[in-house]
Amino acid sequence: MQYLANPTRFLKLANAVLPYIWVITIGLFAVGLYGALFTAPPDYQQGETVRIMFVHVPAAWMALFVYSTMALASAIALIFRHPLADAAAKVAAPIGAVFCFLSLATGSLWGKPMWGAWWVWDARLTSMFVLMLLYLGYMAIWAAIDEPHRAAMIARIVALVGFINVPIVKFSVDWWNSLHQPASVFRMGGPTIDKSMLWPLLVMGLAYTFLFVALHLVSIRAEIAARKIRQIHISEIGDR
């Protein structure tokens, strides 16, 4: 951790591993998509629309995973006061927000044939929606505060408070949903899911994870560059 905290060393390592990560990402997507589109059977109830699941479910996983990563980076930044952790949290947010949006959009697309409506206030969709708000709030903080140190501190607080909030929201929305819709409209199989569907789903999940790692590394690299440029500007102005 301490070793990687040095931006130069981090950049060196990131540049070294990135090509491999991209290759693995593409490979996993190829296998996962093949499994999802060709080998997995259509669902006996849902037909071909079930294939949306292979895009939708991993996106939802990632939305949560990225938020946790962001919160972890924020906690590290809060404890060790290292700017690289702030950068990691900052650039994770837009990526996570895209995953979150993807899961909402595909959920909505899936909802139309399943529920006959583009949007249903189903427990899962609702908590994803709240998660989207958390992402937007976090990004808005970075956008609204000019002073980088202050923005970093405030963003840490927002990320951590949001992280405490996520399970509470999840719990409350499940509660609320069970009150209002006693018979769940649609249950995704959980453990009853068939093997032929499970493995493409897991491969897709892994592919998304690697995609995130790759995008995250690229973004951190860009953020470090942006900070250097800012520093150069400041030193030019500072000399009057």
């Binding site: 708000l133 607080i157 408070v161 409350s172 509660w175």
Partner: protein, 222 residues
């Protein structure tokens, strides 16, 4: 303790003298309760069904609208600077100011809400549970509003941001508050359980809010 009381008293006096405390929040509350039946029609049965939810949402929004007043003035006129130099931890200052906000704004609203429920054909049997749930929930609402207010205190256009930031925090309070109020879908047992969970959320807010608010305010004072 004495100085915490002094701070709460000062904030109460200020909110009373400058108007805009409970007064304007109550006005907003009243506006929602009057406009709602006009907007959706005078169907008594429908109104009775949505009354608890409508009242909760009005309470939430009224508290949210008044949130920026918790720290804004003291930040701008330098009072917060001096409060960090007082003999108590700054977290206590944040807590005291949240309590003052609760006393001056959220609590009056929570008391008035069940009464305004008459305008929405609220079932008289739910007045008591609604009142209890709102009094308890309003503590959490003020505490969470404090986080939003502190996090945006130095921003020129913090209002919209406060809404985005605080809304996700208000979702659980709304859900369990409504459940505890014996809203349309819950019976007595569920209401009791929800009230307990609402208490737990309030306690969590009581711990998290002063820490987060004080940390945010400190970084704005730098």
């Amino acid at each position: 303790m004495k100085l915490i009381l002094a701070l709460i008293r000062r904030d109460l006096v200020l909110s009373y003298r400058q108007g805009g405390g409970a007064g304007s929040a109550l006005g907003f509350f009243l506006a929602v309760v009057v406009l709602l039946p006009i907007g959706i029609g005078p169907d008594q049965q429908l109104l009775a069904r949505i009354a608890p939810g409508a009242l909760w949402i009005s309470l939430l929004l009224s508290v949210l609208l008044s949130a920026d007043r918790i720290y804004q003035q003291d930040y701008e006129d330098g009072s917060l600077d001096i409060m960090t130099m007082g003999p108590v931890p700054f977290e206590m200052v944040a807590l005291a100011k949240s309590v003052a906000h609760w006393l001056s704004t959220s609590l009056p609203l929570a008391i008035a809400a069940p009464l305004l429920g008459f305008l929405l054909n609220l079932d008289p049997a739910t007045i008591l549970p609604l009142g209890i749930a709102m009094m308890l929930g309003s503590i959490a609402l003020s505490l969470l509003a404090s986080i939003g207010a502190a996090v945006t205190v130095g921003l020129r256009r913090g209002g919209l941001l406060v809404s985005i930031l605080v809304l996700p925090l208000y979702v659980p309070v709304l859900i369990f508050g409504l459940s505890a109020s014996q809203g349309p879908a819950s019976g007595p047992e569920i209401a009791t359980a929800a009230l307990l969970i609402l208490t737990a959320i309030t306690l969590v807010s009581l711990v998290v809010s002063p820490l987060a608010s004080a940390a945010a305010l400190r970084s704005y004072l730098k």
